[in-house]
Amino acid sequence: MLIEQYVASGRARYEYRYMPVLGDAAVFAAVAVACAGEQGAFWPLHDRFMLADQTLFTEAGLRRQVEFEGLDYEAFNQCLVDSATLPLVQASYEEGIARGVQGTPTIFVNHERVDPTYEAIAEAIEQALQ
């Protein structure tokens, strides 16, 4: 709803930051989504992982989704094997730590931390727009 209300209307920009605080699976997912991002498909994989689709944690399931999105699976897999996007994820994580992020989701509106609820975010946006 925030996306439709504020981002689609051009009043706000939304940026996702990797903050894998929940262990190895979280790091794997972040690296995988970033690898999809290397081929310009961050959002489709982001959406799929956000749905908690557990098949994405299997090779077959991940391959199906990557190929469905029209990506080069061999390049994607090589990216995963090499953890090529780990520095990107690590940098995002360290930025989060530096900004006091301790859990997820954590939301900032114009660099001010707000509660991760629709009401709080909308209120912060409305105040910033005034």
Partner: protein
């Protein structure tokens, strides 16, 4: 004791042979359905197929969804198969599958991990985890 004549013995042997043949034919007819039986079973099979199809979700699933459901069912313990298939179906809304792919996200401009116009006055940052 009176011995059997050769013709009598031959007759007995032929009778025994015929009886064996008759028994063999009888068992064949018991296992192979007749044309009538086959014809009457076909509509029942078709009915079962229709019943199976009617139990599928009313919205057609795309190939990846079907494969995922299939894989979930194959790998799950039998007692959890139904629940997991149901959960998987719920976790795969159609708008994700049919969404525009690279470079678009819900009709909003996207670049990398960003959505929206680069010069928008408000920046929303979301530190998130996928698990």
């Amino acid at each position: 004791m009176r011995s059997l004549r050769p013709w009598t013995l031959l007759g007995l042997l032929l009778g025994l042979l015929l009886a064996l043949l008759a028994a063999a034919c009888g068992s064949d007819s018991a296992t192979q359905p007749t044309a009538t039986e086959t014809a009457s079973r076909a509509p029942r099979d078709a009915s079962i197929m229709q019943q199976t199809q009617s139990q599928s979700p009313s919205t057609s699933l795309s190939l990846p969804q079907q494969q995922e459901l299939s894989q979930s069912a194959q790998t799950a313990p039998p007692a959890q198969q139904t629940q997991q298939a149901s959960d998987a179906a719920q976790s795969l809304p159609a708008e994700i599958i049919s969404e525009p792919k690279i470079g678009e996200h819900k009709s909003v401009r996207s670049a990398g991990t960003s959505l929206g116009e680069p010069d928008a006055p408000i920046l929303i940052e979301h530190f998130g985890d996928f698990t």
